[in-house]
């Protein structure tokens, strides 16, 4: 059963240059207990999608969707306060830029304890007194903080970005959510802890059956963890499918470019050989190309690409391209 089902999510932002479509017709489906990777360059609207799911809006954002459901609840019809209550129970998010998402004037202890819902309490009433503190310490241990006591007594500005990120993760997993949205959860960490955190998320997924939407710019690290993958470019979904489909048989030139851009150190890379990259850069929101937004950078672009491509569905593998890769090869072979 789908825990998260989003159809045609469009987010428009009012800027001084007029209204821009930062996210255009994004589809996302997460089944229960699944880890889905959401991959794209920075600025491709991944975090916007996450915030739209949570219902956190800034002034001047217009969020529209044809369908937006969490389990059997329609998110579009909820009032803001009902939505908050839902978020308190079912959804948790690990934010990007962790230190700015912690209250600068509050000690870490209070902030973590605030994130521990009282319905997760187990044990006798006489244990209630110290329970939150103990739980906070266990949570910090879980995310790999070595001296939780002194961290609990610190203010966010006294801690490094990596530690703040771990605290964000601890707060997110405190309520054992049904859906965890992890927005670049391992960026500010050393690689050994990165693996610890990924393992922790994996364990959370297996033990509590938490669905995870894993947002990252790094297709390689996401592909190790996730069951399904969605690739975004410039506010549009370009391709989605199971890990095998997307990684081994990419249909969209952008996915292909992402995969090629991962240097493969095992094959004998020639000395001083060029690493692969798409020409050009991601366009700013004010100058979005019409039709397929990859158009100007796409190696296979043709005249028809100025029209927005229809999404094609092939055994659960969805891609938006006029000229998908290796369709003819496989058809002929």
């Amino acid at each position: 059963m789908a825990i998260l089902d989003i159809r045609n999510l469009t987010i428009e932002i009012n800027t001084s240059q007029g209204r821009v479509k930062a996210v255009e017709r994004v589809n996302l489906t997460l089944t229960e207990g699944e880890i889905q990777g959401l991959v794209g360059e920075s600025g491709s609207g991944k975090s916007l999608v996450a915030k739209a799911i949570l219902g956190i809006k800034k002034d001047g954002w217009v969020v529209r969707a044809d369908r937006m459901r969490l389990g059997d609840i329609d998110l579009l019809t909820l009032t803001p306060s009902e939505r908050r209550r839902l978020m308190a129970n079912d959804i948790a998010m690990i934010f990007q830029e962790p230190s700015s998402h912690l209250d600068p004037t509050q000690e870490i202890a209070e902030q973590i304890e605030e994130a521990i819902p009282s319905n997760t309490f187990e044990g006798g009433f006489w244990q209630r007194f110290q329970w939150r503190k103990k739980r906070a310490i266990t949570l910090l241990h879980k995310v790999g903080i070595k001296d939780p006591i002194s961290v609990l007594r610190s203010y966010p500005h006294e801690l490094s970005e990596g530690v703040c990120q771990k605290i964000m993760i601890a707060m997110a997993i405190a309520k054992k959510p049904r859906l965890l949205i992890a927005d670049e959860p391992t960026t500010a960490m050393e690689s050994t802890t990165q693996i610890q955190i990924l393992k922790l998320l994996h364990k959370l997924n297996k033990v509590n059956n938490t669905s995870i939407l894993f947002i990252s710019h790094d297709i390689e690290s996401v592909s190790n963890l996730s069951d399904t993958l969605t690739v975004m470019y410039c506010g549009q979904t370009v391709e989605s499918g199971t890990r095998d489909q997307v990684i081994n048989h990419p249909r969209h030139p952008y996915t292909n470019a992402l995969l090629q851009a991962v240097p493969d150190f095992e094959s004998n890379l020639k000395h001083k050989s060029h690493l692969y990259a798409l020409p050009g850069s991601i366009p700013p929101l004010q100058h979005l190309p019409i039709g397929c937004r990859l158009g100007p950078r796409c190696p296979n672009a043709q005249k028809t690409c100025v029209q927005k491509p229809h999404s094609t569905r092939l055994k659960g593998h969805m891609f938006n391209c006029h000229f998908p890769l290796s369709i003819e090869d496989e058809a002929s072979s």
Partner: protein
Amino acid sequence: MLIYILRRLNVFVITLFLLSVVAFLLQRQVITDFVNTGNIFSDYQRYILAMLSGNFGTSLASGNPVLSDILAIFPATLELCVMAFIVSILVGIPCGVFAGLSRGGTVDYGIMTVTLMGVSVPAFWFAMLLMMFFSLHLGWFPVSGRIGLLYDIPVITGFNLIDTLLSTKPYKYEAFFDSLLHLALPTLVLATIPTTEVIRQVRASISEEMDKNYIKAAQAKGLNTFQIIKRHGLRNALPPVIPSLGLQFGRVLTTAMITETVFSWPGIGPWMVNSIYLEDHSAIQGGMLFIAAFVLLANMATDLLHLMIDPLKRNELYGKS
């Protein structure tokens, strides 16, 4: 922390020194019977030693030492100022928060319009209007003075509200209520300036803080708007406002002099004005130094208070930001 306090004290001492030099030069110019030896440095030395030992000279008008006159009168002014600040905080913070949350909305425009009116109204005129309407027309409040003539309250602290409660007279609660009534109008007049300032600062501060990321994170935790404002919004928005309250103290004291004169409040305002009329130079000079020192002290106290409750400010002391 200790170094910061010492640094603040240093500024305090230097400012006082400069003030005393100005006061000294004024006195040298004006008063001819000042024992003038011709050597400006030894004169200043004698002058400052006298000041430090609390000898501000003798008032020509009353014949008492200036300092004892000031100490007898100043509590009345202080009582008025403290009440004005309490009112401005009680009114200003909620209004500022409402305006800041509905920035650009009707509530915001309403509050800001009233605030602008409060800033631009001259204190003496506002005082007279209030007096005419509430005291003369409606008769709700007394016209002037600190307390009704019927009550005889011995002076203990100099603050009427406290003295009435401390006294053992049988009518002490009536006296307390009466002095509250006397306080109402002057407090209202005096509170307008700090209130408008608090509203504007809190409004700017809270609407800035509510846009920050940690508020988004708090929303994602599932807290409701009231909890977010209580636990995170105010906590971050209020401390930066504290030092500006201290800066307001000087302005409030100046306005207090006008207000006191209008309401015949026996504070330092009428006393200073009177001394000026009588050309009582040692009283003017002493009063000036005393008020200046008090304002500086209040500034320093609010700065230290800010430092104590705002961890981010403490961090700045160590050269980080």
